[in-house]
Symmetry: D2
Subunit: 335 residues, 4 copies
Amino acid sequence: MVRYDFASDNTAGAAPEALNALVRANRGFTSGYGTDEVTSRAADLVRALLDADADVRFVASGTAANAVSLAALCRPFEAVLAHEHAHVCTDETGAPGLFGHGLGLIGLPGASGRIDPPALDRALDAPDVSHRQSPAALSLTNATEYGTLYSVAEIGRLTKAAKARGLGVHLDGARLANAAASGFQIKALKDLDIDILVVGGTKAGMPPTEAVVLFDPALARRFDARLKQVGQLPSKGRFLAAPWIGMLESDGWRDRALHANEMARQLAALMPFPVRHPVEANAVFVDMDDDALARLHAKGWFVYRFTDGTVRFMCSWATTQAAVDEIVQAARSAV
Amino acid sequence: MVRYDFASDNTAGAAPEALNALVRANRGFTSGYGTDEVTSRAADLVRALLDADADVRFVASGTAANAVSLAALCRPFEAVLAHEHAHVCTDETGAPGLFGHGLGLIGLPGASGRIDPPALDRALDAPDVSHRQSPAALSLTNATEYGTLYSVAEIGRLTKAAKARGLGVHLDGARLANAAASGFQIKALKDLDIDILVVGGTKAGMPPTEAVVLFDPALARRFDARLKQVGQLPSKGRFLAAPWIGMLESDGWRDRALHANEMARQLAALMPFPVRHPVEANAVFVDMDDDALARLHAKGWFVYRFTDGTVRFMCSWATTQAAVDEIVQAARSAV
Amino acid sequence: MVRYDFASDNTAGAAPEALNALVRANRGFTSGYGTDEVTSRAADLVRALLDADADVRFVASGTAANAVSLAALCRPFEAVLAHEHAHVCTDETGAPGLFGHGLGLIGLPGASGRIDPPALDRALDAPDVSHRQSPAALSLTNATEYGTLYSVAEIGRLTKAAKARGLGVHLDGARLANAAASGFQIKALKDLDIDILVVGGTKAGMPPTEAVVLFDPALARRFDARLKQVGQLPSKGRFLAAPWIGMLESDGWRDRALHANEMARQLAALMPFPVRHPVEANAVFVDMDDDALARLHAKGWFVYRFTDGTVRFMCSWATTQAAVDEIVQAARSAV
Amino acid sequence: MVRYDFASDNTAGAAPEALNALVRANRGFTSGYGTDEVTSRAADLVRALLDADADVRFVASGTAANAVSLAALCRPFEAVLAHEHAHVCTDETGAPGLFGHGLGLIGLPGASGRIDPPALDRALDAPDVSHRQSPAALSLTNATEYGTLYSVAEIGRLTKAAKARGLGVHLDGARLANAAASGFQIKALKDLDIDILVVGGTKAGMPPTEAVVLFDPALARRFDARLKQVGQLPSKGRFLAAPWIGMLESDGWRDRALHANEMARQLAALMPFPVRHPVEANAVFVDMDDDALARLHAKGWFVYRFTDGTVRFMCSWATTQAAVDEIVQAARSAV
């Protein structure tokens, strides 16, 4: 497709600096399974990005990254607390349950994708009975599914409550670049009592690759065996690591997200339908009735209704000003 | 590393035609999760390669490809029959058991990685009792772990016996290119009663990608959901599919394997240690004592002892004549 | 405890005819794992009870019986449709997810524990997409968690819709005896397109034992291996089967439930709090505020709040007229 | 069957003191899920038996008891070391793999069912690599599958080696009564660094019930939820606990095993076929060719060939002197 596709931030390919790094890494001979120098260099860059002394692995799938993380934090008779519209709850075909052997997911409410703190407290206060799966982990997402941000303080508020009850904490950072570009202090993450962080590469403009960051060193023991068993320890690991070198050496990881966020901001400003969530990252959600949506589809723009009933428009590193103008025009004629 | 590494056929990067195709595919905007045109084109090429009207999916990991296939053929209280040294038995960290929820693996003997047909018959004749996991699938590998080939007739002999008992059949073709280059008629596979075939891309000279071929159309129902749940349905699916276009349009898939096989043949001919298995693909296995192996390591050649106690040397698309000469010289001085 | 306990219908022991049969079965020597004559006789009686030519197994746990049934009907990337307050959803610690390797549970609404048919239709109409677990089974409960009944026609309405979409059907009959005693035609079950039925023994007045009835003969293949693997194929199977002989030869299975239902009817009629669900089986649910509940607890009656916020009183085969009078008096003084 | 059946030690019913206790416990009303006074009393008696301050649970299945224990000690990408002929390896339909989500089993050799200590050491010395499941637990069996005993010192030798590497230890005591009756000091178990012990009730002469003893208090957290999820937390828990009261208050647990062992001793002494393993508990294994076995079967004695090819004769609490004489006579005429 030549025309930009607002259906998702993964309809675009890879940013040039990511792909060029991949091509550059395709030289010489390396040992396998993440023991190579390309992987080592990329991991160093992720650690520098986060200013954290953590173990880093690169995997090919965000779904797998999240699911393997939750499996590391929960036992099958326990549950994960997450926003009820979090990707792990709504879009991963029950992957946490498979990777975690039946672990439960407890959906929490909260406006615009952010967990309501009192709702978390109530879930943590629920009696620990044997006939239900009691929580063992909290899963957060930043930027959220609704393109909003948690502040450092807000995450700290939630993780502190979870940690006080002995829970592990997972942060799904599929769009952490967009959060960072929007002012979220990612170097503060290391002090927020997070056990496992997944930093998104794919949506940030790379070929399929995500970084799994183990802040808790105890989790690192046999983590490669864990990854190997779930099919996420590739022999030619350099291909998952190299794009990170390209994006982090150049600061493309953040700059590309800054662009995506700016496109979303402009799109929201021009959109002729009511915008329903604060536009703090690269997504715009609007109220649109079925007829209007059908008219937009008829013009070849395949955006769709999201979990909350609004219609979602995603921007990415590859969204152009012209594409924004085009879809705004289409939207206006679809009103 | 500049020097070729004979430790595995995945120490090399990707062949130019594979990587160029990946770069070429990085244009425009595509729908996600394998619904894009790049994936569609690559699947057509795989079908043409096999002359088969089958469903094709591309995944990032051979371990996952095998494990998800076996999970599709077996229930948890059933078992897979495989050669006792098959990759699924020895090198995948129990992935079939995790993907298959505890399914069993029953190792069968056989010279040089090929299952001994009477051993299969005995396993099939074992009483179907409730206190053991009875077989529901047969898993074959071609080329085998020992660089040998099954003929079409030999595979037919084994699959016929399995099918007569109602088993499903999986073929691990991580090195199917090497088999094809060595004369194995891959277009005959469609008539061999195989349910799922995994065609190796990674070891054939691609970035991490494997093709899962569903000969049995009944398996295709909800297979995408199956893949999504195990973290093998990437949003940017084109990056897993594109290398296949490069390798199959150019016939690089077979030609590169032909080269690898030839390098192995030469290596075997020159090797100063006794060669232990027929060299029919890209591997050479030799008898070597610990002292000799240590001397080879000291010279910087990190080959290692395999499951059967021999030392394995792997060639690939990237093995050069010069590399063969170098390691032969090193081997000679290590005798 | 000497005083009757209305907290559950499992606080009572076993009815005399169940225990006497168990004692009688404790003679001689039998083969193991359900192959014995006691088990055979009990299975015949269950078949006669249902007028059905079905496979019957006896297991020690209702949770296991349900979970193993759902695992037999669903694959991990699929889901079970059930009432949102069904026991499998709320009281089994995620057992379906563990036995079913991460299968999903989709809760459906409906008054007083009965699934609302249009809600089922909507769930069946949801698009079959790969990023969610699409339904593969419908799980019903009769009598329901709220002590109400489905009629034969109502079950037929639901199973017909499910079957039209290819789903399997499971019926949790933990309190099927209560339904039968209240007029539900259990001999009609065989014609309702149910694949697996769990007939409750424990709540009907037996020691721990449940009958798993496989109406679909295809499910019977290797079902013993399935049970063995999940720890539900006891070597001394006669002890799970014998109570059924005692309860079915004497018609105690139904008569005891008739008594329990009658006690519930009387309790509801006398209860000084508003009764919230139709009393069609052995349960009474009332509105009661926290102070009143605390006063009842203070008098030593440990009933508790149920999922819907009402307070539940359960009767059983062992509930006496005197116990009903006592708790009614306590309730009156707690108003 | 009127005639004694030597096929297993579970062909007999329950000893009178076990069943009488069960009947006695069938009075009054109790809370559910193991919180009742019968369960509490039985747990006290198990603690007294072992002279240990441990958590005790009662479950309905030895297979489940073992599998849930191993699942508590291992993660899916890890393995259990066990004797290659241990019940968990050969007779539980892969239950550890299902309960443990794909955990591996590594079979170790050793004469007559006892793990060879150097073999354990070698397994512990194997490199901890990511492509194989490395051991996280050691599973022992006493009395062994071959009716032999480990001494306290021998168990200590093995558990010390395992503990030095950080492994957990499980002891399958399905026939611990027979070991105890043969002089094994069960009060010493608490000092042997065992994490979980399963004490057999069924084979000791009870209806289906096994005691799970958690020596490691850390394992007790949410263990009830773990049991509930796997269908091993029965609502009417008293029925699993009561037989223990009968057998432990009376010392029947040990006395009945003493009798079984003595019967085996006599049987071995009179058996006209070569006895193949030391007779230290209630089993006799003999060399017998197929014709002789067929002749024995023809006389109605359904003993069978065991994993090692010998023919097994099991005695139990219910084996009579007359039954021994009968089968010896049959065996003599079958020679």
